[in-house]
Symmetry: C2
Subunit: 254 residues, 2 copies
């Protein structure tokens, strides 16, 4: 969706390592924004993005207009049913359908051998993996690690909307998730206890609204009551009008 | 879906004329049958089908099991919203979603340059064309003419279920559609008049239930009140428990 930051650039670097040709798409996809969401306010920095792509060795920048990508008679949608329901799917009911529809189009147009997605949007990554498997789209989905500021805040195009004081508060999300990981590594198994240790960190910060803080199976995203196998900690908060998400993966030590 | 007849074979012949390699899929797709429909009764004649494919010069017969095609965690669907709503979509609410999902999978697996579909299922043909365009699937959808018995009955795998007396009645559907075409060719423009001339033919036959007899725009499938541009006459009837569909295209003479 453009507004490229180091997180996006890390995908490009990864792709360049393994592929002879790298294609980047920049398209602020209207389908994945709800009616009350920030489509018009979403940051657009195309000139800078172009420059960054060129500098990073991108071979092709695909940058369609909304009108050519979705002509007037456009009427097809792709939906991943179970994995899209919870968490971001609940907070943003049409979001994943918009994502899977646009990604199917992009994959059919470009036919990449490998497609790079950031772990930052963990549920999106799983939804796309499922879609590619279900529809027999011939590409390998590669998961790339979340890139963070030095204090732990996950990079996001929306971070630029944070005021200085909001920015200081924003780090609490990754801090809370880290706290959850630490609890699990130290042997905590009861999810309610892990959750309340994460909540404690966020509740200390005024103006931070918790949307969800979940301990889930890393494959199905179903919430757990007791830590088992590979687990993902998912978090979403609101600071003012800005919505931030983050996640951490953790394997129960055996 | 197998139970190959001359209609299917004509698709193969067309494909062989223009393509160096011909792939046929045989898969009775459970997704496109409603709960009250004839999935278990749908004719399966795989040995004969295999033989016919070999005889017709098919290079590859793709014949998956339901379990490998839709594994347990399968959860993705493809939907064409507007074109799927009327006619067959109304009679069979989940039908087209099943069709577009399976066809997307088949096209992604096989990646054919050209894909051959019969005009017999006219709405399906349009729905698939729209889907391929919307999702940027790189294949050309080729429309092949409906193949008919000498008296006009469109070939269909379901025809084998007709008793002798039902078979005699079944021809009335194509006769009614032909009557509609003739009326238009002779200058009729008022759709209500054209429709009632078609209905008249079917109402004479006892045990034939009209589901719909429609005069529609050939591109959008919207019903017309007055004949304009290219028109498709769509018909669906029931004879006993057997559902038959047929259609004819007609251009308004200028």
């Amino acid at each position: 969706m453009g507004a490229l930051h180091e997180g996006h650039l890390s995908l490009i670097h990864q792709a360049r390592k393994h592929c002879s040709m790298v294609v980047v798409s920049i398209f602020v996809n209207p389908l994945q924004f709800g009616p009350a969401e920030d489509l018009s306010r979403y940051p657009r920095t195309v000139k800078i993005d172009q420059h960054r792509c060129r500098e990073s060795g991108v071979n092709l920048l695909f940058w369609p207009s909304s009108e050519e990508f979705y002509p007037k008679d456009f009427q097809t949608s792709v939906k991943v049913n179970r994995l899209s329901q919870r968490w971001e799917g609940e907070a943003r009911p049409t979001h994943f359908e918009g994502v899977t529809t646009v990604v199917t189009k992009l994959l059919c147009l470009v036919r990449p051998n490998r497609s790079y997605f950031g772990q930052k949007d963990y549920q999106q990554l799983l939804v796309i993996k499922q879609m590619v498997q279900d529809l027999n789209i011939d590409t390998k989905i590669v998961r790339c690690p979340t890139i963070r500021e030095s204090d732990g805040l996950a990079l996001s195009s929306r971070n630029r909307f944070l005021s200085e004081s909001q920015r200081r508060k924003a780090v609490s999300l990754s801090a809370a998730l880290k706290q959850g990981v630490q609890a699990i590594k130290q042997g905590a198994r009861n999810v309610r206890i892990i959750q309340s240790s994460m909540q404690k960190i966020l509740r200390k910060i005024s103006g931070v609204k918790i949307e969800y803080l979940a301990v889930c199976d890393a494959k199905t995203l179903e919430p757990l009551t007791s830590v088992k196998g590979e687990v993902v900690l998912l978090g979403a908060i609101q600071i003012g009008k800005i919505r931030l998400i983050d996640n951490l993966l953790v394997k129960r030590p055996s």
